[in-house]
Every structure is written in structure tokens, then in C-alpha cells.
């Protein structure tokens, strides 16, 4: 009897050791904790985006209250970088070298992420699901430790191009774009999407600088080209000016507006709601102001989450839906990692999501990645402004 017990004990011990051996960790992970780093602009000119970092923090407080992920608590360490790239470098180094996080998640801003792009890849620390729409984050060959999340600007523009080709094969397109990498990304996407027809269909291009006071003269110039489709690649202030000016001079093209400037409050209201009627744009997650989702269970859940864990946040702030959705994606990645919390495995799992979705995304939009596709969300749904609110129409379209 005694020998048997000893045998059993030995076997159990061996099993336990084997199980323990399967728990693989890199710095920042342990049996009880996963450390996740982040930088956000909590101060400075872009501080409105800070709501994203705060929402993610609240999300992981909720997850920890519910017992964590595979029994581990998530410590979300987020620092203010004031949207200043040198500060992002400093904070990213602090997170990686001093706080010893497992990886960075949702670091925000194109210039900020550019500043740490090389560093993260040299260090082989994941720069996961960055919060910017530039297309360069999907480059697994050269930067295997960096991954985007939201649909990138080129994807979105390709989708508009497809819609134009389908609905108006005879379109004459005028483009207004901001003269920087963001504007050029969109323009390239449009050209790629139109393919061979890009040369004949795009009849006019005008650009503006962020420092310009208005875009009125550009609109007049574009109207005179005789275009019947207008692709408006502008940030909020200029989007409002462009919508208003086009309406005032009696130019009535089919108007595509980039997703960056779809805010009813800060773009369409200043432009004039009736003047904005008919504008087409796109979306990929549920808008908290859209009456259509008033009784949606996922949005109800989101509201309950907001009230309990982020009460100082706003229930009409789309950034909080964004943050919640992104955090839910990471939740799934970490769940998939199981007990193998190495940096390599985090990237591997993040790159093997197959048609996964979180219910705050629009119906039909899913997250799919692979070893050579680091662009998680690649589809959007078109929406049209009816003079009061955005109305989704058509099917979910993918940019590939």
C-alpha cells in the first residue's frame, strides 16, 4: 500500500513538473500576471484620443474582476506621451526595459509608432494592434513584431473605388487630399482600387496643407473639372469646409468622405446637416449615437461596462467603443496563448485569428490574420448620411 502511494505521489509530481514545464514565459508574464504596456496622449493637442487608453484600462480591470485570463491578471501600464514622438520612445523604453512588459498594445499615433518601430523590432518585443490607420504596419516580412488593427486607409479607399466601379462605371472623379502620408495613403488606395481605370477616371486632384485656412479654392477648382464623383480625404475641420463649399456653389457630385471625419458633432453639424445629406462613408464598429443600436445587446453590455468601470467617460464617445473592441481582441489573443506566454507566441496567436469577431463590430465584420497578413480588420460597411444620422447600406465589403 505504502509503495503504491509513493508511486502515485511520484507520478503526480512528475505530471506537475511536466505541466509546469509547459508554462513558458518571457519577461512580463508569470503564473499570476501578464504585463501589457501602452502609450497614449493623455495631454497635449491629441488628448481626445486619451479616452482609448482609459477605456482599455477599464476593460482589463473588468477582466481581472472576472478572474483574469487563464487565471492570470492583466496589468495594463499606460503612460502619457503627449503625442510627442521623442516622449513615446522614452516611454516605450521604460515599458520594455524597466517595467519589463511582455509587449506593447495599442500605442497611439502614426508618428509615435514610427518612432519606436525599429526599436521594437530590434528588441523583438511585439508592438501589437497599433492605433493608427497607416498601411505600413502590415509588413510582416520586414517588421515581424509590429501589427496593425483597424482597417487601414488604403483598404478603405479601395472599398470606395470598388463601389464607384460598381455603381458608376462612367464616373469622373475629383479628389481632395491632405498633403501628408495620411492623404497619400488614401489616394494610393483609390488608384489601386480603380486599377487600369485610375488614369481615365480621376479627372482632378487637389491637395491642401494642414496649415491652410480654407479649402474653398480647391473645391471651386475641382468643380470646374466637371467631375461627378468627389472623394473627400480631409481631417474634420477641412471636411466641414469642403461639404459646405461644395453645397454652396451648387456642385452635387456623389460625395465620398473618409472615415476619419464622419463625426456628426464635429464635422457634419458645422457643415450643416442638410448640406451633408447624401454623403457616403464607411464604418466598422457600432456607433454609440446610432439609434439603430439602441437595443443591441452588445451595446447594452458596453454601456453597462462603461457605467461600472469607466463612469467618467462619455456614453456617446465612439473612441470608447473603439478601445473596448480593441481590448476585447487582445483578450482573445491572450486567451489563445494559453500557458505559453512568450513574445513569439503572442505574435503567432495574434497572426492566427480566423474569422473571430466581437459583437461591438458591425455585423459581418470579422478579424482574420495569418503569418503574412498583419491587417486584422480589412472590411467595412458603407454608410450614407440621411440628414439626421448615418445609415448603413449594402453589404460588408472587404478591401482585398
Amino acid at each position: 500500500m505504502k509503495t503504491r502511494l509513493v508511486c502515485l505521489g511520484a507520478m503526480l509530481a512528475a505530471l506537475a513538473i511536466a505541466a509546469a514545464a509547459q508554462n513558458k514565459y518571457d519577461p512580463g508574464a508569470s503564473d499570476t500576471e501578464i504585463k501589457v504596456g501602452n502609450t497614449n496622449p493623455y495631454s497635449g493637442p491629441a488628448s481626445a484620443y486619451g479616452a482609448i487608453g482609459k477605456t482599455i484600462d477599464a476593460y482589463f480591470r473588468m477582466v481581472n474582476d472576472q478572474g483574469g485570463i487563464n487565471g492570470r491578471k492583466v496589468s495594463f501600464i499606460s503612460y502619457d506621451d503627449g503625442y510627442s514622438p521623442p516622449k513615446t520612445v522614452e516611454m516605450a523604453r521604460k515599458l520594455v526595459e524597466q517595467d519589463q512588459v511582455l509587449f506593447l498594445f495599442q500605442t497611439l499615433g502614426t508618428p509615435s509608432n514610427t518612432a519606436i518601430h525599429k526599436y521594437m523590432n530590434l528588441r523583438k518585443v511585439p508592438q501589437l494592434h497599433v492605433a493608427t490607420g497607416a498601411s505600413k504596419w502590415n509588413d510582416p516580412k520586414n517588421f515581424p513584431w509590429t501589427m496593425g488593427w483597424q482597417p487601414n486607409y488604403q483598404t478603405e479607399a479601395r472599398i470606395y473605388a470598388r463601389h464607384i466601379l460598381k455603381t458608376r462605371p462612367d464616373a469622373k472623379i475629383a479628389v481632395l487630399y491632405q498633403n501628408d502620408d495620411y492623404g497619400k495613403d488614401y489616394l494610393k488606395g483609390l488608384q489601386d482600387g480603380l486599377g487600369d481605370k485610375a488614369r481615365s477616371m480621376i479627372v482632378a486632384e487637389a491637395s491642401y496643407e494642414v496649415s491652410d485656412p480654407t479649402v474653398d479654392s480647391q473645391i471651386v477648382q475641382l468643380q470646374s473639372s466637371g467631375a461627378n464623383v468627389f472623394f473627400n480625404i480631409t481631417t474634420p475641420k477641412f471636411a466641414a469646409q469642403a461639404i459646405r463649399k461644395a453645397y454652396d456653389i451648387g456642385w452635387k457630385p456623389v460625395h465620398y468622405l473618409n472615415n476619419v471625419s464622419t463625426s456628426v458633432g464635429s464635422v457634419l453639424t458645422p457643415a450643416g446637416l442638410e448640406k451633408s445629406a447624401g454623403v457616403i462613408s464607411s464604418a466598422y464598429y457600432k456607433d454609440p449615437t446610432d439609434a439603430h443600436w439602441a437595443n443591441d445587446p452588445a451595446m447594452k453590455q458596453w454601456q453597462a461596462f462603461m457605467k461600472k468601470y469607466y463612469p467618467e467617460g462619455s456614453l456617446i464617445n465612439a473612441f470608447s467603443v473603439y478601445g473596448y473592441t480593441a481590448a476585447a481582441t487582445l483578450h482573445e489573443v491572450l486567451r489563445m496563448c494559453g500557458n505559453n506566454l512568450t513574445r513569439e507566441n503572442v505574435m503567432r496567436q495574434a497572426a492566427s485569428m480566423k474569422g473571430w469577431r466581437v459583437e461591438t463590430l458591425l455585423p459581418g465584420i470579422t478579424i482574420t490574420t495569418s503569418q503574412d497578413d498583419f491587417a486584422p480588420i480589412q472590411s467595412v460597411q458603407l454608410e450614407r448620411f440621411n440628414g439626421k444620422q448615418w445609415e448603413l447600406f449594402g453589404e460588408v465589403m472587404s478591401g482585398n
Binding site: 493623455y42 495631454s43 497635449g44 493637442p45 482609459k54 499606460s78 503612460y79 502619457d80 503627449g82 503625442y83 510627442s84 514622438p85 521623442p86 520612445v89 522614452e90 523604453r93 521604460k94 520594455v96 526595459e97 524597466q98 502614426t110 508618428p111 514610427t114 518612432a115 518601430h117 525599429k118 526599436y119 498633403n179 501628408d180 502620408d181 495620411y182 496643407e209 494642414v210 496649415s211
Partner: protein
């Protein structure tokens, strides 16, 4: 006097030992402290010693940083050569900016330099310059490695390189300010009519002060670019200029060592403030600033000087 040189020697030994005692992230932060110290010394020459207020020194810092980045990225220049080059460019730019600025006094000069600071990020985005500046995307540069097989990692090597440049710049500043030129600058600050009567060429000295000050700041900008390995217009907002001014006031106006204290303040206090409160980091920063100015009205350097005198009768 010998006590002071003993103290300086100890400080240099400590500065050399420090990177081996702390993590490479801390080493990086210390490098930034040295970089800011050079920039603050530059601003102190202009504002502290010569009494000309500049709210636009971030622009010269940006100019130095971009000079370095463009020379490395486009011309393939070695990193050690770009630092004096950036200093030279900023010397000329500062001198030229100083000429029209001569006609402006006090607050008006502050406004003119403020305009420079505000304009700089937008000028860097200007699309005809994009070929060199990289537009909003900026320029990514590689980190210099230690030469001759010296067994130091890139962070430590850059720290020692920066330390060397800092020592050179401080000796330069010390020689400049302790002598005839320094006294002339102070005389102009305190009583410009009397200084003119003493035979000081006010206009020349004021423009020179501008040029030299810009040169120091430009050298700091170049070293900052090497440390951060990235330059972009968003890195050099007008806030940077204001932080520099905060640095010299907190550190101690018209004090060489004050630049070092000011640099420690602007590097570490924002991080401490952020750790205390995520919601209002700048409010905490403000409290620190008011506390420092209230407790040490002549800056940290001034307070230390007073303590020093009390202890040595």
C-alpha cells in the same frame, strides 16, 4: 577653489560610473539629461546672461536635430561629424535671426521668437522640403555603435559620447562667460546705455549671444536626434521651447551649473507627475514648478550657492 575642482572631479567620475550602475533605459534618460543641459546652457547664455527672452529655442533644437538626421540619412555622414555641423548651421541661423531681433526688446523679442517656435513644425512639413525632411513622417536614423571594438552597448556608448560633448560645451561656455565677453553680456543685460558708454558694441554682442546660444541648442538637438533615433515635426512643438525656459528658471538664471539642475527637472518631473496622476499630469507638474520657484527663488543653483556659503564661513 580647490574644493570646487575636487567637487567637479568627483562629479565627472560619478557621471562616468553611473551608466554601469543603472539599466540601459536609465542610461538613455541620463543621455537626454545631458542633451537638455547643453540646450539649457545655450538658452541661459541668451536669457540668463544677456537678458534676451527667447520662446523659440525649440526651433533651433529642431534645426540641429534635422541637420543631423538629414546629413546621416541623405549624405551618409558619420554621427560624430554631424554634431559640429549642426552647431555651425545653428550658429549662422541664430546670428541671422539675432540681427532683426536686435530692434526688439523684452516682450516684443519674446513674441518674435515665439513666432519662430510656432512656425518651425509647420516649416518642417512644407512639401517642397519633403525630399529632405521626410514631411510629417520624419526621418528614422540608426543608433551609433561603439567604435574600435570598445565593449560598450549602443546606449552606454552614446552616453559617453554625449558626456564628452557636454564637457566640451560646458568648458566652452565657462570660458566664454567668465571672461570679458561674459561680463559684456551681463553689462548689456543690466544697463545697456552704460555698457555702450563703456565701449561695448551692443548690437554685435547681442547678435553674437543669439548665435552662440543657438549653436549650443543646435548641438543639443543633434545629440537628441541621435539618442531618440527619430525626428519628426511633432517632436518639436512650441511646448518644447517653453519647457526650456522653465528649465533655466528652475535651474537658475545666469548660472552654468543651473543648466544641469534644470535638465534634471524637465526630464524627470513630467514622468513623476504622470505617475502621480494620469488625469492631470500637467497640474501636478505645475505644483512642482510653483513649489520650486517658491522655495528656491534664485533657482536650484542659487539655493545651492547659498547653502555652500553658509557651510564655508
Amino acid at each position: 577653489m580647490s574644493r570646487r575642482s575636487l567637487f567637479l572631479g568627483a562629479l565627472i567620475v560619478a557621471a562616468c560610473a553611473l551608466p554601469f550602475l543603472v539599466s540601459s533605459y536609465r542610461t538613455f534618460q541620463l543621455t537626454l539629461v545631458l542633451v537638455y543641459a547643453i540646450a539649457l546652457l545655450g538658452l541661459n547664455i541668451l536669457t540668463g546672461y544677456n537678458g534676451q527672452i527667447s520662446l523659440g529655442h525649440g526651433a533651433f533644437y529642431a534645426l540641429g536635430a534635422y541637420c543631423a538626421a538629414i546629413l546621416i540619412d541623405k549624405a551618409g555622414a558619420p554621427y560624430w561629424a554631424v554634431v559640429p555641423a549642426a552647431g555651425g548651421v545653428c550658429l549662422v541661423a541664430g546670428f541671422l535671426f539675432g540681427l532683426p531681433a536686435l530692434r526688439l526688446e523684452g516682450l516684443y523679442l519674446a513674441l518674435a521668437t515665439f513666432a519662430l517656435g510656432v512656425a518651425m513644425p509647420q516649416l518642417l512639413k512644407y512639401h517642397h522640403l519633403e525630399k529632405w525632411t521626410g514631411g510629417v513622417q520624419g526621418i528614422v536614423i540608426a543608433k551609433p555603435e561603439a567604435p574600435f571594438g570598445i565593449p560598450l552597448d549602443a546606449d552606454r556608448w552614446l552616453y559617453f559620447f554625449t558626456l564628452g560633448v557636454t564637457l566640451v560645451m560646458f568648458v566652452l561656455g565657462w570660458n566664454l562667460l567668465r571672461g570679458r565677453i561674459g561680463r559684456a553680456l551681463v553689462a548689456i543685460r543690466d544697463q545697456h546705455i552704460a555698457s555702450e558708454a563703456m565701449g561695448i558694441h551692443n548690437a554685435l554682442y547681442k547678435s553674437l549671444a543669439f548665435g552662440v546660444s543657438a549653436m549650443f541648442t543646435g548641438v543639443a538637438g543633434a545629440l537628441g536626434a541621435l539618442a531618440v533615433q527619430f525626428v519628426a515635426p511633432d517632436s518639436f512643438g512650441v511646448f518644447l521651447s517653453i519647457v526650456f525656459l522653465v528649465g533655466i528658471v528652475v535651474g537658475g538664471l545666469a548660472s552654468i551649473s543651473g543648466a544641469l539642475y534644470g535638465a534634471l527637472f524637465i526630464e524627470f518631473i513630467p514622468n513623476i507627475a504622470d505617475e502621480i496622476s494620469k488625469a492631470a499630469p500637467w497640474a501636478i507638474f505645475g505644483v512642482f514648478m510653483i513649489g520650486f520657484v517658491y522655495l528656491m527663488p534664485t533657482g536650484v543653483a542659487g539655493a545651492i550657492r547659498v547653502l555652500w556659503r553658509r557651510r564655508s564661513p
